[in-house]
Symmetry: C3
Subunit: 417 residues, 3 copies
């Protein structure tokens, strides 16, 4: 009898490790998506930098999160022997479940600076971007992550549950990851200013993407990885539910269809529309009805198209290359709020959320992101310099920083380099 109990427990923890590991690998794959979405959207002369920024940013974020950030968010540090880490040690689950959880959450944390890098592409210094990535994953992101997902500082209890009636619900990070990241990006883009030649005497000069296929590949990899991010989440096998996966699917479809209609067939809108739906569904994917999720995603797809167009108005002097403010900032905000509507039982959801909590929490997340972005990128700008010199920017960030172009053989042969 105890043998069976032990076998079942072993199976349980093994299965949990496996489940989370698949999720972590999928979230890691999203970073390939960030890299190629950015490489396809920027101009040819900035493709290499887009790829390198995302990969290097991932490494630096992960190390910062390992040594500092994870302790801030969850109070757990890794400075114990490997035996303790892998099971049996205080605060660590058997079979290293805690370590896979770290892997998963580190890949999520690294997504924040990957999001930001899409907004400030083509003109920022690599060293400064890496420094900002370390500050985000090591300090600024873990604070909000800990407040929402680990109930740090008792805000969930005192402010949300106590004063607004329900805890702030953000299942897979519409606000914690996307709104925060998108609004950090907002401040970073403002701090950096537009690319040279982007706005000229009140006119916007189009800077068309270098490659729709690479952009599309990035979007596909993000969508595929998202099902790990969303459907698996930082949770155990026991709480895995098909509802989450189905809601992500429906929201993605809603985003595609709405962006197809609103965006006049522009491939950038159709592919980013899928992402808009997925950003928005994160907060409430565990509690909404699939038809609610379809609607939430559809609104997000249309919202992205309209906000992206608005934000390109020369009067804002706002040059957000990939539209990360519209995509992550606004659609994340919408997702946090929408969870307080379509998660309600009245709208077919599972309930347990409140509109007031979602509204306040989402706005707080966005405001925190904007403020954190201002502090981080202003500091980095003052201390290290955020922007390339104008000559370097004109030659292109690839040649200036990496001394190579995206198609070196051809460029050497044609005498372009």
């Amino acid at each position: 009898m105890p043998d069976i109990q032990k076998a079942v427990q072993g199976l349980q923890s093994g299965a949990d490790v496996q489940f989370l590991l698949v999720g972590a690998i999928l979230v890691f794959a999203m970073h390939a998506g960030f890299a190629f979405l950015q490489a396809g959207t920027v101009r040819h002369k900035s493709q290499v930098n887009a790829l390198c920024t995302v990969l290097a940013g991932f490494a630096i974020s992960t190390v910062a999160y390992f040594f500092v950030g994870y302790a801030i968010a969850y109070g757990v540090a890794f400075f114990v022997r490997a035996e303790a880490l892998n099971g049996g040690g205080k605060g660590f689950d058997p079979q290293g479940l805690s370590l896979v959880k770290f892997f998963f959450l580190a890949a999520v944390a690294a997504a924040v600076s990957a999001i930001v890098s899409g907004g400030i592409a083509e003109r920022a210094r690599l060293g400064s971007q890496c420094t900002a990535a370390a500050l985000i994953a090591g300090l600024f992101y873990p604070v909000v992550e800990g407040v929402v997902w680990n109930r740090n500082f008792g805000l969930q209890e005192s402010l949300f549950k106590g004063m607004l009636g329900e805890e702030f619900h953000d299942f897979a990070g519409s606000v914690v990851v996307h709104a925060v990241g998108g609004w950090i990006g907002f401040s970073a883009v403002r701090q950096l200013g537009p690319r040279l030649g982007r706005y000229d005497n009140g006119r916007a000069i189009a800077m068309p993407p270098s490659s729709v296929p690479w952009l599309a590949l990035g979007a596909w990899l993000l969508c595929i990885g998202w099902f790990g991010f969303n459907a698996i989440g930082a949770h155990s096998l026991k709480s895995a539910t098909g509802l989450i996966a189905l809601n992500a699917l429906m929201a993605m479809c809603g985003g595609i269809i709405a962006a197809l209609i609103a965006g006049d067939g522009d491939p950038r809108f159709i592919h980013n529309g899928a992402l808009a739906g997925l950003v928005a569904v994160c907060a409430g994917s565990d509690i909404m009805h699939p038809i609610g999720a379809l609607f939430v995603g559809g609104v997000a797809g249309a919202l992205f198209v309209h906000a992206f167009r608005k934000a390109s108005d020369p009067k804002w002097n706002f040059d957000d290359v990939l539209g990360v403010w519209a995509l992550h900032g606004l659609c994340g905000l919408w997702g946090g709020i929408a969870c307080g509507i379509f998660g309600l039982k009245a709208f077919g959801g599972l309930g347990g959320v409140g509109f007031a909590s979602q509204l306040v929490g989402s706005l707080m997340g966005a405001a925190y992101g904007a403020l954190a972005g201002f502090v981080i990128y202003r500091t980095v700008d003052v201390l290290l310099g955020l922007r390339l010199g104008p000559d370097d920017e004109r030659r292109g960030v690839d040649l200036a920083i990496h001394a190579i172009t995206a198609t070196p053989e051809e460029d050497v042969r044609m005498g372009r380099v």
Copy 2:
């Protein structure tokens, strides 16, 4: 004691959810494969449309299957509260297993119109393709799916088991998905006619692919996702067997090697040969011997090469851009029949299938596909117009529909747009 029983049951359903979810994500990833296989095979001026057609087609198929098709195939609708959907509700399994099953099957259903779109690429209207996708996933595909996999209308019992001795066996859809899709494609290609300039006075004018790397990426993504499609299938953990995975592997290798030999080193044949093997193994991957699977895949690889070449004979006036009729239509048909040979105990298989049932069922599937394709694309043509105007086709479907090319920056700089 009952606690343990409950724990084991919980583990069971959690593990089933996880297993199917991984499969569903992999099948979803196949759609990225469809998109890039098509983008690499068409001409440069049609790459954007290839990408958008597959992504938009996926979204529309999924929504049509959600609201209509799934009810036709399995008699299950989603118009109940989220609690019921996610477990406990009538007709729904715990932990939302039914919903993950839907995700898996929706991604399979959407593959049918993705298959067709490869045949009619470069000259069809987007709105008409979307309408056809909705009709396929919402109506025509679920009918055959339900007959074979849900025993609808009692055909399995009366016709196959009763008159031919065994049920029609199609484990992962050589016929239900591929032959049906390939023969719908056959009719769609005939309805649409060849691309302008493809055949001229009895001569075929080669229209070489735009990009072998993109074509290859598509093939790789399809192969990777196929192991989810085939090895996981719409089944529970209990029925997962290594035999299925090994058979898929061997058939793929057989297809590659045969196409390498038959195809004179042409990269299109080598990469599509892998797919040909995988198409053919679907029907019997759960019951064949691996050496049988190797042979079935090898025949499929050679069949694809020869049929693709034959179909390009100007006398047929048949312009199937990706060769979907040869790949899915013929190799799917072969796979359905081959399952009735190599699935037999006499050929080392597990048995339980009959040649007569497989022959009749496969031919019926192909005939149903050809007929359905005729009805769908003729109707859409008459009501909406299936084909672009000749001027638009000459400029290219990307500029005509999406007002952008695949490499907009370069094309704008070079004054090509």
Copy 3:
């Protein structure tokens, strides 16, 4: 009671099948990574051949391993009926677990010739490469695999345990796969000689890569798949531990950061740095501390950069196109040895390894690889001819072997073909 026991056992074997299957699919996906890493690194005129060599090599390796190699390594052959294969048969686990294990290990075996092909790219014949792939996966690799992982010939017992104190530990193949593959590549590159025009009168003529994005995609796919290779390994669910996954993550990050610093921002170094860290962590990922893994990966990243530069010195007359000797040969060797340092309890590891065993075993692996490579490629060269004729090489291997270029539409239009 026995029912529960049976249910638990069924769950166990089902879960093991699933776990390994996911791992196998991920290792299979690494081959797409090999293909695109090579396609992006070679010149435009060799991209098609890079893609075809990896895909065809995979198929031929798998078949050779199925019919011969697996029996050499593990003493298991597949010439029994499908029922026996899939469970119940002598030497086969229930639910075909053995067959999924084969799938996993076949994809690992095929990696060896994929590694080699990156070194000898742009100038080798396809038929000769395929023959070499069959010899590697069918004969030379299984010998070393069997010695280390299946204790064949008693070397683990007599030499390592008996004379050096501990068994040779190589959890996921730093030596068995990578050092062996990298040193086979070393001999193959020497046998073949440099590309025409690569070294001229003591000067190295740079042959810049055709495409950084394709190179980057290859690296990303390899990294993603590596987590299946490393974190899942050929093991059961029971032995899955988060430590392995975390160590792979940390080593990869260490490799990226070190290569970023040592490599002056060169995107080839940054992306290959990730791979260098992953190569090195394989041997000890199950027993090192994550901080040890970070260090091991960092050393590997810097080692790759320096060795790659050194190896391009004209005096060596050594033209290893992708740097597979530096990446797999040297970083694999370092990984095998490092496991004997950072796996020790004194360095925070789990212990159970010895420095002497690791040093001797790693050097033996590298020497075996170099010798096997010499025998294989010398034999193939003498019997079949390894190298293209000079005219064919100048036109490019794509046109010479495949009669097509990577961008056929454009090349036909521009009259380049």
